[in-house]
């Protein structure tokens, strides 16, 4: 058990294992994304009320779900880096931030494009949409804060604190549609009780959510590999890699 944590703290081991995982996970993810998108776009029936515009659900919901889950990953890595001063946790936190920002942007953009034909507006300042915009700014804030500090250690501390403070926003986003009157409807997929989306539409949606989780993992591992190379540029194992011209 402890030897595993020791290995996690070793950059060359992490770099190598991330590469081996990516070799299998990335192709599987791409296939799942393509299958899920084609299934949702072409092989499901339209919704009885919204018609074909509902097909945006197959990217909107997965992007939003993973953007929220990704924040917990980032904040957890931030906490570990603050408490144990573990360098690799800092690498993980920095790797998660831009991915979270990209997914939050996708959720907001697709939601806006979906809102126009269904609700009749591109944007409304309701609790769900506004708290999602705050999430985007939190992710971008972590990215920007890293760049603002010359001292890497100070940057890592400031970003960890920001991501921990921002964590309070996540349950607010989840519950916003239940706590306040909003334009956004409550969740259709329920962990307890029956989902209010027909099973023929639910299966491709679950596939897409799984695929987006895998995509988050892939992008995060890739960001970590690049970050490790930059931080360890002066060490023997990176020089060896560079000299070999290996990938």
């Amino acid at each position: 058990m402890w030897s595993f944590f020791h290995k996690l703290g070793s950059p060359p081991w992490l770099y190598g294992i991330a590469g081996s995982i990516l070799r299998y996970l990335l192709p599987v993810t791409v296939i799942a994304l393509v299958v899920g998108a084609v299934w949702g776009l072409l092989f499901t029936a339209p919704d009885f009320r919204q018609g074909n515009s509902y097909r945006i659900i197959y990217i909107h919901v997965p992007a939003a779900v993973v953007a929220l889950a990704g924040y917990y990953v980032m904040a957890a890595a931030g906490a570990v880096s603050l408490i144990w001063r573990m360098k690799m946790a800092d690498v993980a936190m920095k790797a998660a931030a831009p991915i979270g920002a990209a997914l939050t942007f996708v959720a907001l953009f697709t939601g806006s494009v979906w809102g126009k034909p269904t609700w009749g507006t591109w944007w409304v300042w309701d609790a769900r949409i506004t708290s999602m915009l705050v999430l985007l700014f939190l992710y971008l804030g972590v990215v920007a804060l890293y760049e603002a500090f010359d001292n890497k250690e100070a940057a890592s501390k400031a970003c960890a604190v920001l991501s921990l403070v921002g964590m309070v926003n996540i349950p607010i986003i989840y519950k916003s549609v239940d706590w306040w009157y909003s334009l956004h409807q409550p969740a259709s997929i329920k962990f307890t009780g029956e989902s209010t989306i027909d099973s023929s539409m639910l299966y491709p949606l679950l596939l897409m959510i799984t695929a987006f989780y895998c995509l988050f993992a892939c992008a995060m591992l890739m960001n970590m590999r690049a970050e490790l190379l930059e931080r360890e540029a002066k060490t023997g194992w990176v020089r060896k890699l560079a000299a070999e011209g290996a990938h």
Partner: protein, 149 residues
């Protein structure tokens, strides 16, 4: 755990708990402003300001939609099954606007309690299903939420 790490752990917990409490209190204080709309019951009870821009949300009452013959004016009523608010709106309604469906109208209340709306948004619920499934449900005497009609 090492005492220094333990101390850092407490600081992290302190930051999370107190920032949550602070934001929670702010949200609680602002709870009225975070709601996007007033339900009709609160409007009828006089909780919504007159003459100021507000939003009212509820179900469009069955059979209440009246379209003007010579203009784009539409009149309908919104209900939360406790009270009704009459709405007048001139303009194009969203595709999903229909009787028995959710809608949010934004505008100003006049002295007679009529909401003169400048924008109407359709609110849809969390039910998704193919048209055939909705039809089959209707045939067997249920609405799209599975509630017997």
């Amino acid at each position: 755990m090492h005492p220094v790490r333990k101390q850092r752990l407490y600081i992290v917990l302190f930051v999370v708990v107190f920032s949550s409490a602070a934001i929670g209190l702010v949200l609680y204080a602002m709870r009225g402003n975070i709601n996007l709309f007033f339900p009709p019951a609160e409007v009828v009870a006089g909780k919504a300001p007159l003459g100021q821009p507000i939003r009212v949300g509820g179900m469009v009452v069955d059979g209440s939609v009246q379209r003007s013959e010579d203009s784009l004016e539409v009149r309908f009523e919104l209900t939360d099954f406790a009270a009704k608010v009459p709405v007048s709106y001139t303009g194009i309604l969203p595709d999903l606007f229909d009787e028995g469906q959710g809608a949010i109208a934004s505008g100003r209340l006049d002295a007679r309690g009529l909401l003169v709306a400048t924008e109407v948004l359709a609110k849809h619920d969390e039910n998704y299903m193919p048209p055939e499934v909705a039809e089959a449900l209707e045939k067997s005497g249920y609405d799209h939420k599975g509630v017997p009609q």
